[in-house]
Symmetry: C2
Subunit: 232 residues, 2 copies
Amino acid sequence: MTQGTASHAAQPATGDSIAQALSLAIHEHRIAPGTKLGEGELADIYGVSRTVVRAALLSLSHIKLVDIRRNKGASVASPSPTEAHEVFEARELLEPRTAHTAARRATQADIARLERHISDEHAALDAADPGRALYLSGLFHTEIARIADQATIAGFIETLVARSSLIIALYWRRESALCEKHAHHALVQALADGNATQAEELMRSHLVDLHSALDLRERNGRTLSLRDALSP
Amino acid sequence: MTQGTASHAAQPATGDSIAQALSLAIHEHRIAPGTKLGEGELADIYGVSRTVVRAALLSLSHIKLVDIRRNKGASVASPSPTEAHEVFEARELLEPRTAHTAARRATQADIARLERHISDEHAALDAADPGRALYLSGLFHTEIARIADQATIAGFIETLVARSSLIIALYWRRESALCEKHAHHALVQALADGNATQAEELMRSHLVDLHSALDLRERNGRTLSLRDALSP
DNA sequence: CAAACAAAGATTGTATACAATTTTGTGTTC
DNA sequence: GAACACAAAATTGTATACAATCTTTGTTTG
């Protein structure tokens, strides 16, 4: 991702593309929770007017990645401990069922794609790119939701996974910010075996494990210049 | 709700207030699925510029009440049979658990409020206001989610309940568009008794019943002039 | 009459200008 | 140095102007 979409591409940035770029930056921890997202600054970075930026920010506010306060502007959301708990609780309610359904539906191509995700994730780690690895780790979950072929629930899971990256930035207390390696492997195996019950149970314990790795007793995030963060 | 917020109130309509007004109109079946939502027309109705209207429409598109097509404008969403099925399936996954939690947490005040909802709903029916009754019927469900005090899941349920009103408009095949009277009463009783297991089971069967009342084999909705629909 | 094409009108997407609100900077007083 | 008041600058909210795209209408052709 270069400086700004408009600078090097034939198409000007749209609200959607800016929202996606910001979402990715947030997900990869290139922008920290609490970071001010000034409309003028973003308009400069992306080479569009404030109108387009405002639409992007409004969209991101709907999935709670961005917090907009009237007359005070937008910033990257900073979930409270309560919100963090709720997000993981919601995941624990939705994702096991999704894994169950996915195990019944997964094709060879699906399994291959999941395995590619896992190896891409580890490649990113080896390349000292933990942000990328974190993003891919989350994408693994949304990919399982896609396989389950229930778009409504998959949409909720996508939102929850995105918010999880903010929560991890704020509350994670393990050295690695990632899901444990073997948990994803075991899930892929259960899906490959078409073992719905196993997939469901593995997903549940995986999420309970993630939830338990959160220290939900307040701490502060770091800040970073906006332009730097958006230029990996 | 009079002609337009700006016409009679000290405050001009905001994106949020317009989105709420449109959502209510959709929920009460005053605007049908598929209805074109022209920016200029809405700007006239609400006495604001297109900028504010666009923000409202974008917000509504995020909860899938409105469908925005680039360069073609916005219309009230028209869920497909697949989407309809998914929405109720998601509700069947989320709401029983929510009812379970609500039964454990409900206060006397909560129960009184739910009972008031039920009687308001019947008053609306008696007043030959089925749209209002439908809205209140849905609100009963979101109220239970509020009692459960899990904002993340309650947010999802709110979205699903709103979309349900569109689905009912398109696919409902019973004479009354409402939840059955005794189902809500029984739920309130289970909550009042603090019987979490009963509440969960009653909610599940209630939703399965609603789901079964849908004829998910395509049919068309009606259309209505926009100004008429927004002036109850 | 139907089909194809062009022109006119309407609508949507976006930039820019203006109004309103907030933040920052400066000076004064204690 | 801290607190306060005020002015200036910056940012956010919204209207309006302009550009791009789509839809409707009118005209021509077979």
